[in-house]
Amino acid sequence: MAAVLALSAVGLSLTFGVMRVVNVAHGEFFMLGAVLAWVVVQAVPSAPLGFVAALILCPLVVGAVAALADTAILKRLNYDPEATIVATIGISYILQQGALSFFGPDARAVEAPFSLRLQFPWFGYSGYKLFVVIAAGLVLLAVWLFMTRSRAGLVMRATQVDRNTARAFGINVDRVYAGTFALGAALAAVAAVLIVPIQQAHYLMGHDPLLLSFIVVIIGGLGSIRGTLIAALLIGLSDGIISMFFTPTLAKIVATLAVALVLVFRPQGLFGARA
């Protein structure tokens, strides 16, 4: 849970950090990834092959949809912070109702690519869940290397600091924004493909990831990848433990209370820079 949440939250954090866009449609990009994973696995029924195809194709398709939404809608609003909130609410409804129309209201299960139970001396653990943790960790490492070591990551970080000065050095900010929005959505899609063998794909499944991703990025500090990872670990673990021993509702109450405390005592988040 924490690993997948970290992936989704880093996507949201990147979008806000670089573009200053609060992407309310982030949860629906997650949902779209899960729904498309079901479609791909149906089209390629061979167990590991279908899942691998979904893991590659779904982020690409969702990223392309996000880039299209950026170019067609957000760019025309000149990335105005308030207007883009309203616009992404609209995008979220379009995606949600599109999924309902083409995919139907039923929850659909996707089989895990392999079935393996790891037996430890005191307890057993799902091999697939361990795979999810490792895969999410590898994707996050790749994102970190991309942001800190690649030329494209450098361009994104420069644009994040000052988009006008970036333009004065030949950086096409519109293209950077489209790429960032696509990358953020693609990360949500990767998270969704990984989680869909554990939770079923459903057109309303985007609400929880959106809420939890917002909780994570607010606690971690908007735009801070390090803070997002640590907050994802804290919220993911607490959500899992409280849900298991008490109720999922209590887990959400605790997470929301944590956000309230952070907003009161440290509004910039645990690792965010003060505005």
Binding site: V155, R157, V161, A168, G170, N172
Partner: protein, 231 residues
């Protein structure tokens, strides 16, 4: 040669520049002077394409710059050292220089040349640029702009808040650039600094260029400075 004719531009629907005309020749330093709010920085931003001109033209060696997207203007050989430096603060010195080299193919040679001009930056390549001193930050802002190998360099108040030794370094750099044929447009408030390097001085007031005079005919006591700059 940079030629600006009848340029009108501003913020939103409110024009700040009204029919501005100005030229900057290769190997010459054109200084732009005026009181606060005269439109000097707006002119720099309009040349860089950051503000859309509602009328008028900007040409560089016959090529139209007006109407180009802002990220295309530096590719045509125009570089800006903005007021307040506008470094990418969380990025290191090396990364700021790397951003300057984005449009260059032979980046390594240009990088070495720029670091030879400002050896102090070479010692601080891995330091975050926001932790540099004011003078070092201005060196980096200049170095980053020179990475573009500009035909025209726009300097917006580069000596603001700097100590005398750093002001001398910037003056020497401007003179070196002038000698290599770069057209320099310098926005400056200090009369002495202007007269040391300028070939011509354009005075601005209320968004218009009111007078353009050769610098050799001006002294610190010339009435134009009192009239248009208030010094």
């Amino acid at each position: 040669m940079l030629v600006i004719e009848g340029l009108t531009a501003g913020y939103g629907g409110a024009p700040v520049l009204h029919g501005v005309g100005l030229g900057a020749a290769p190997g010459k330093v054109t200084c732009v002077m005026g009181r606060n709010g005269a439109g000097k920085t707006t002119l720099m931003r309009a040349i860089m394409g950051q503000l859309r001109a509602s009328s008028g033209t900007i040409h560089l060696d016959g090529e139209a710059l007006h109407g180009l997207p802002a990220h295309e203007v530096p590719r045509h050989g125009v570089a800006l050292v903005p007021q307040g430096r506008r470094l990418f603060g969380p990025l290191t010195v090396a990364e700021n220089i790397e951003i300057g080299l984005m449009t260059r193919r032979k980046g390594r040679a240009v990088r070495e040349h720029v670091l030879d001009l400002f050896p102090r930056l070479r010692e601080r390549l891995n330091q975050q640029s926001r932790t540099l001193s004011g003078g070092e930050q201005q060196m980096l802002a200049l170095a980053r702009a020179l990475c573009l190998e500009p035909k025209v360099l726009l300097l917006d108040e580069p000596t603001e808040g700097l100590q005398p030794s750093m002001i001398r370094l910037i003056r020497d750099t401007v003179l070196k650039l002038k000698a290599t044929g770069v057209a320099v447009v310098l926005v400056e408030q200090r009369v002495e600094a202007v007269l040391e390097v300028a070939d011509s001085v354009a005075f601005m007031a209320q968004g218009r260029v009111t007078e353009v005079l050769p610098a050799h005919g001006l002294t610190p006591q010339s009435p134009q400075f009192a009239t248009w700059v208030g010094v």
